[in-house]
């Protein structure tokens, strides 16, 4: 129940191909996030699952039922796919009250009146909007409107939930709250969920599995932990993580990776015959000391940005800019000296030609 299968999906608008031969399987009850920059084809993919866009080629199955197949000439309209979709704009009908918004589709399905009022009550309770039934959407705050959209979905009890950047119109604080309640919703409904976002924090916090898309292709697919720690290529490495990953181009020489201003110890089990490579080090994986330590590299500070719990420190080693992330609220004058150390084996190495992660291949 609630399985989604996409097979060889291609979609183009005019000459521009936005989804390129996409294969995707979402298991029953799974929370899958499609993450990517704008224009990567993620929303188009979601809309194709919903039936609001038609693929040019390929096949889509919901629950083992073919809902689209170019070759067999099958197109099931969105009306008949029985899934739930939350829009970025919430898409509440402005001329109807909250209650009407929630019950319109139920009435169309000829569900009995008592059942409808039960479901309405239940849905409003779940999103904590009891008592708001007779309000119009314009009389609600952004967060409340969002919750009405969720309630509208709950009342229909779909087995598949699709969410198209549902939090992007909310302010930062509300977003954190709603994130938690969406996760709760997924748990309570046990529905298969496909969540589309460009926000990596949403992707990392919510998902069982994350798919990273770029230019119509899947760049990597895996658990949030894997995506963060073992990026498959430079694109994923750069896209995930805030502040962004440090990338240094260098060469293996005498058991070390030599970059223009810094040296990084070579990981174990690394094929030594490799030529040039790009090293990616996450800012929090670089050790920092205010006092000189043996074997550590000296750097000069630039802009310091304390965010409260953490501090982002920009430094330069010679001409190479490096970003560091330290716990705590740190203030330092500009141009002070620091010493940094690359922890052993906490970084990724990429092939400059293919952009792929070399160490993933090693194992």
């Amino acid at each position: 129940m609630g399985q989604i299968l996409l097979n060889g999906i291609v979609k183009s608008y005019g000459k521009e191909v936005v989804v390129k031969n996409l294969d995707l399987k979402v298991e029953t009850g799974e929370f899958l996030t499609i993450l990517g920059p704008s224009g990567c084809g993620k929303t188009t993919t979601l809309r194709m699952v919903a039936g609001l866009e038609e693929p040019d080629q390929g096949m889509i199955k919901l629950d083992d039922k073919v809902v689209f197949s170019r070759n067999d000439g099958v197109v099931v309209p969105p009306e008949a796919r029985h899934l739930g979709l939350i829009f970025q704009s919430y898409a509440l009908w402005p001329h109807m009250t909250v209650a009407k918004n929630i019950t319109l589709a139920l009435k169309e399905q000829k569900i009995s009146k008592s059942e409808i009022s039960d479901r309405l009550k239940n849905a409003l309770e779940m999103v904590q909007l009891t008592g708001y039934a007779e309000r119009y959407p314009s009389e609600l705050s952004g967060g409340q409107q969002q919750r009405v959209a969720v309630a509208r979905l709950i009342a229909l009890r779909p087995k598949i939930l699709l969410m198209d950047e549902p939090l992007s119109n909310l302010d930062a604080k509300l977003r954190t709250e709603m994130r938690a309640s969406l996760k709760r919703l997924h748990r309570d409904l046990t529905a298969t969920t496909v969540y589309v976002t460009h926000d990596q924090i949403e992707a990392l916090t919510l998902s069982d599995r994350v798919i990273i898309m770029n230019e119509g292709r899947i760049m990597q697919e895996g658990s949030p932990y894997d995506i963060y720690h073992h990026p498959a290529n430079i694109f994923v490495a750069e896209f995930i993580g805030d502040p962004g990953i440090n990338l240094f181009e260098g060469k293996i020489d005498n058991g070390k990776i030599k970059c223009s201003d810094i040296e990084i110890p070579l990981p174990e089990n690394f094929p030594k015959n490799k030529g040039r490579l790009i090293v990616g080090v996450r800012p929090e994986k670089i050790e920092v000391s205010k006092t000189k330590k043996n074997g550590w590299q000296e750097v000069v500070t630039g802009i310091i940005q304390p965010t409260g719990a953490n501090t982002i420190i920009e430094v330069k080693a010679g001409e190479t800019p490096i970003t560091l992330l330290q716990n705590g609220f740190i203030t330092l004058p500009e141009n002070s000296k620091l010493w940094i150390n690359f922890e052993h084996d906490t970084f990724s190495c990429f092939d400059p030609e293919t952009q792929e992660n070399l160490r993933n291949n090693v194992g």
């Binding site: 009306e79 009908w93 509208r152």
Partner: protein, 634 residues
Amino acid sequence: MIHLVALILKRRKICVIMWVKFMAISAGNNKPKFWSIRNIFYQSYRLKNRPELIIGLVALCFLSFVVLVPLLQIIKDALTFQSYDLAYEPDGVVGEFTLFHLDRVFNQPISAALFYKPLLNSLKMGFAVTVIALSVGFCLAWLMVRTNVYFKGIFGGMLVIPYMMPSWVMAIAWLSLFKNDRIGGSEGLLTYLTGVQAPDWVAYGFFPIVITLALHYYAYAYLLISGALATVDSELEEAGATSGMGKWKRIRVITMPLLMPAIGSAIVLTFIRILGTFGTPALLGLPVRFFTFSTQIYASINARNQGDAFVLALVLIVLAISFIWINSRIIGVRKSYVTMTGKGFRKSESDLGKMRWPVTVLLILFLCITVAMPLILLLWESLTLIPGDYSLSNLTTYFWKGQGDVSLAYGEPGIIHNKGILGALLNSIKLGFAAAIFNGILGLLVGYAVVRGRGDRLSKWLESIAFAPYIFPSIALGAIYIGMFSTSIGPIPALYGTFTILILITVIKNLPFTSRTGIAAILQIHQSLEEAARVQGIGWFRRMLRIIIPLSMSGLVAGMLLTFITAMRELSLIILLISPGNMVLTGLIFSYQEQDMAQHSSAVTLALVLIIITISVIVRVMSRSAGVGRLNVT
């Protein structure tokens, strides 16, 4: 705009070709063969899935039939020998290709009277009226939007009243004032009061036509320009001020360029309407044999020389198209600025200072001349027993409620007892309502198909063809419809002389505006509102009923009201198509005027104007109280 016209010109293809091409495009490459059974099944599945395509196709076929086919028909008629031409060339073979009509219109001694003089008159009239109407409209718009003149609220409502009246009301009022003894019958108020005969150039011809038309058409320029002016953010001008520009330079460098698109469309709108207008040139021009294109077309049709009329109508269309083209060349497509912004929007009004009262008085005077005076003159005229005698002792209510006295006005009874008038009134109201409803539905469907189908060629074609009637001057469209519907076509009977043809032509002529309204109304309904319903399993018909129609209602009602007003006061468009069987009020007024029955024509005109104003006020109040205030959501 040039783009649309170019599209219309280039893409004169019948819908079968469009359909095949469209399907071929949507099929694309590396897919099953286009004609394979599987693909046909797939395409029909797709079609079922996209209601906007079905609506678009049906609308496109219908509009091609009522817009493009008639045009081709009169081109064909103009270039083939017709039975009525036998009177001039008895040896001709009916139905054969001939340049006879072109020759007559362009290259014979008769051409001067038939073509060149009317052409010159129409162009002169068009330019003069456009210049005056635009200047007046611009000044009024500036006063109302950018200065602190008194009584803005009242003036705002009063200034658009001429827009609701038929354009020739002013002409009838002019005649009551300045009519001289030239055409016999009674004389005007001027002669009655002073004994002086107004000279011919004041009473008839070019001068009064230009003045009366300008006093009507300024309302269009005023509405368009004040609308645009109200959306120019004062901050843009203030930005100019902070960079050191003087007041006049700011207006010249910042404000005027931003207004250019609105001014451009005001020019085009006015000019094309003037080219196609019939009532005023007929009332004020025909007595002195001052012919314009429109009155010449009317005369040719009446003289059974339809071929001449068709050629003239085609020239008129070519004129209109080239005018649109030149205008869009000058204004440019790139310059259709969007000056509306959601934030920081402020309007600054400049203080008129000492001039505040004088300007206000001037405005009141202007309104007296354009609104109050014609209506008072009409009323007075309708109350005189013997025409031309404006003394109190001569006042009578006979023409309103008389029973029909053989010694007066050919025995025509007064308005409330006159079956002819009441029948025509009923027809006018029927025409207004029918046109409004059909236009509302058609505008909504076209808007839906165009907006939802954005990106498809079908959508572009539909938008262009819905816009096409705009470039047909009213009288030319009437001529086209005579050519098309005077005989039966397949299952459709000959519509000439029926009420249906009046509804049809009114709907078609108003389509450019209602489809604009429809497109704008659908555009403001975010696609996701409908998609949300779709995903929840609500079918197309219910979506239209529960979501699209309620949300676009306010725009639609405004569009339908406009259609109603236009239909009620229309004369130029339908003058060639009315007959005793489908008489409407405007046609009746014209025939009374032709028979020199001034009291009847004045009384009926006044009644017509009052009905239009009353109904539009009622609709406005109703749609306001219907509560569309809740619709402004994020």
